[in-house]
């Protein structure tokens, strides 16, 4: 059985807001010097979900393929996933693929998935923590005409069926879908494992294919910015105009009374 996990390299989403800067003319985020790019956290949990499936099966019965689209530096997160225990990698690395919107990204990934060949399960994070769109996973499923299940907190493969516990409002919905299928993973899945020494040692021997748009049979007009269906007209960092009114008081009781009064006055309580 093959599980393909789609992962994305992004700027560290945990940086302080004050470090977030955009180049408005280029409509791009300015990388913070010295801060590493990381795997999008939900994607790392998707890798974990794949590894849990492999843990339960005979190790040789499950091949985990990590698929990423990004510049040369994205090889780092691909290797990171291999050192967690994934088996092989595919890196879509081509200047023509850059600047893609969710549509063009899903098209490129779908072509890569077809080229990889037989696959049973495709996992990805519920959204990438840079553009926060949450579109590509379902997009791949539509393009491949296979089922998609979003927001998984538990993913189990049982023969030709995937059983998913998904986060639904205040509860959990249990669904089953025939394979192949796409499942997007939510943070409720839990902490991903760390890279193990054993797997890190083996990473150098694990195969990583590097493919261009041409390798995928895609013309320049079908991928990247040219193949996108949306245009980013503007990118900016909104200015916060919030001014905090500190509630004074000699004692906690006085502070609490004054706060309750102000909340009531402003119609908040």
């Amino acid at each position: 059985m093959r599980v393909i996990v789609c992962v994305k390299q992004i700027p560290d989403p945990e940086i302080a807001s004050s470090l977030f800067k955009v180049d408005e003319a280029a409509r791009k985020v300015i990388p913070v010097p010295g801060l590493p790019m990381v795997i999008s956290p939900f994607d790392e949990q998707a890798v974990e979900a794949a590894l849990r499936i492999k843990d339960k099966a005979d190790a040789d019965a499950v091949t985990i393929t990590i698929l990423t689209l990004g510049p040369e530096s994205a090889l780092t997160i691909l290797k990171g996933a291999l050192s967690m225990g994934a088996d092989e990698g595919v890196h879509l690395c081509d200047a023509a693929l850059e600047g893609a919107d969710s549509y063009a990204t899903a098209v490129a990934l779908t072509h890569a998935i077809r080229k990889i060949g037989d696959h049973d399960l495709i996992l990805t994070g519920r959204q990438a923590a840079d553009w926060d769109a949450g579109v590509v996973g379902c997009g791949i499923a539509e393009l491949l005409d296979i089922p998609a299940v979003t927001l998984a907190k538990d993913v189990q493969v049982d023969g030709p069926v995937v059983r998913v516990e998904r986060v639904a409002g205040d509860g959990v919905e249990v669904v089953k879908a025939p394979l192949p299928a796409v499942v997007t993973v939510a943070h409720e899945l839990g902490q991903p494992r760390k890279a193990s020494l054993r797997e890190t040692m083996r990473t150098a021997q694990k195969p990583v294919a590097v493919w261009s748009a041409a390798d995928l049979g895609l013309a320049a007009g079908q991928v990247g910015e040219a193949g996108s269906r949306r245009t980013r007209e503007r990118l900016y960092a909104p200015v916060s105009d919030i001014f905090c009114e500190f509630i004074e008081g000699e004692t906690p009781q006085q502070q609490a009374a004054a706060l309750a009064h102000r909340l009531h006055e402003d119609g908040l309580v």
């Binding site: 769109a133 997009g139 409002g169 919905e173 909104p238």
Partner: protein, 329 residues
Amino acid sequence: MAAPSDILVVAEAADGALASHNYEVLGLARRLADGGGGAVAAVLFGEDANGLAPDLIAHGADSVHVADGGAFATYQAEAWLPDLAAIAKETSPVAILMGHTAMGADLSPRLAFRLETAVATGCVEAEISGGRLLLTRPCYGGNGREVTSFRTTPAIATVKVKSQEPATPDGGRRGDVVAVASVLDPGDIRVRIVGREAGTTGSTDLEQARVIVAGGRGLKSRDGFALAHELAEVLGGAVGASRLPCDFGWCPPSYQIGLSGRIVSPDLYLALGISGAPQHIAGCASARAIVSVNTDRAATIFGHSRFGVIGDCQEVVPALIAEIRKIKG
């Protein structure tokens, strides 16, 4: 012939009623349509859903397509998509709008790809400028905003809950109710719901809550975290948390608010003993008002708060509970 500002709204009913965000989406749809002389059509899926159509019309829909049937009783993407795609092709709207709810986030990308067009999720602003639809959405955990246009039609967008003024109802409005002749082949439904555990997380639906009391490190223990529950109960709100209480098991992981958890937008967000790490702020920054209690005057959370109390939650919160009880009588 479709007008260049015709809008299609995908309505969302729950427990036989329209959730309030429907009126916000209709309010936006009406403003966009009126700007270009277009019409607003709504699509409603459900079982015995006809009764809700007049409410959609009163809130601005010119017509309502009702897909009525047992297959539509509960939202399921694969059951809704064939008819939705067919209606979209038939009415050729310039945009298809729906709430950025669990349903909207799940449905909109699939609809976009099925119609070979693009989607913008979680939009907070929309305008038609020079004949082009421009949508604004937060990105980078709320640190950035992008304005996007579309090269294909229809443009599909999910609208962030509480980002739009709701439509004012007018019982005198008239509109057409169209019964959808469903094209759904039940054999095309591949995903089966086999079980549902409501409320197993012990937390109410945080995304829909009007008031959220969130606890952080400053509550110090599982017992201390109980203060958040107590205050939420007095306020009729839901309970959330920053990451640490979830990691320490003071509350379930589903309580976590932040970039790697729930993204919420209540009217009132009470942050108890939360310092305001960027990843937490990303989850709560769109609350109408954040009110924080923290011992550290330099805590980042105060920079995002309308009101701040410098003090120990163990002392301030019990007093606050008593004061709010007095107000509520």
